[in-house]
Symmetry: C2
Subunit: 211 residues, 2 copies
Amino acid sequence: MSEKSKISMAVIRRLPKYHRYLKELLDRDINRISSKELSDIIGFTASQIRQDLNNFGGFGQQGYGYNVEELFYEIGKILGLHKTYKTIIVGAGNLGQALANYTNFDKVGFQVKALFDINPKLFGIKIRDIEIKDMDYVEEFIKTNNIDIAILCTNKESAQEVANKLIAGGIKAIWNFAPTDLKVSNDVTVENVHLVESLLTLTYLYKSRDE
Amino acid sequence: MSEKSKISMAVIRRLPKYHRYLKELLDRDINRISSKELSDIIGFTASQIRQDLNNFGGFGQQGYGYNVEELFYEIGKILGLHKTYKTIIVGAGNLGQALANYTNFDKVGFQVKALFDINPKLFGIKIRDIEIKDMDYVEEFIKTNNIDIAILCTNKESAQEVANKLIAGGIKAIWNFAPTDLKVSNDVTVENVHLVESLLTLTYLYKSRDE
């Protein structure tokens, strides 16, 4: 592991946001920006921005600011966006199918190679040219196609069992939409999107407003 | 505002997870649990658990532990789950339709009353009895039906304009799936689900593993 492993998750979680805002600046032909100006549009303090970006060698220059294109490129590289990733979606219900349809992932280099499900009625159906296949063949498919990332969209009950299968096939990164916490070994990375938890946070804040 | 406003977002974000695990304990007929045992299953330290729950008056008793049912009920109340919320989904593309189909929200008291879109071809189509309606009537619908929460699933480009419309209609809570940060006044609560940012975090961690 490199020194990157010492960077806190809080910083890492801010990087995609930097990346998104820098893209917007580039689209508007803005090529140079100070930490103060970046602070105004992104909402973090200028001092936080300087600190965050220092973690990665610091791309700013005193009195000049940041070169937007360079910073955009470097953060993209840090995030691993200079290459493409092969993914599969496991669980082809509504959410799985919606994610297969979500073209924003293509734009950042994610290729969905197949969907998998246990329901025979779904086998062979295509979502944007992506075929729904029989879960029985998922391990084989992962190995043959060198799949990098699995997007887990099963229900809570089968999530762990399915995850074990994916890992047995060689998967090292799971994007987990099932409302449960997966138990995996240290060499497997899991990123959770727990939608109900996010919704409950909103309810709490909404409700507390009036109290 | 009550003293709840002083509770940190970090604590608030952990509450839905407590709620989810307590539900699992109840389903397994476990009625009493120590902070140590809760720590083993939920993954936070016992001291963190005691500290978190103290924020809300502390429901534990020295030498007895927590009453699972009581704690589940109290956290649910804190999260606002003792009542139901009326929601609309704005943007009836793939993601909006998938969320309309996602029955897990019903279970925690969220009723989706309608979807809205600008595409006339979608008007009148029903997803699980929930009708897609003309965006032109969204403000009126919010007022007439006392909608609490709007789920925003438009593209990035129209998100802010649509949010302004929702707020003009009286919406005070937005669950935002559009990949942009909304500018709203202080009395409006926004909770973001930025899917691409979550995916980029996963890529970063996956990529860093091998470095």
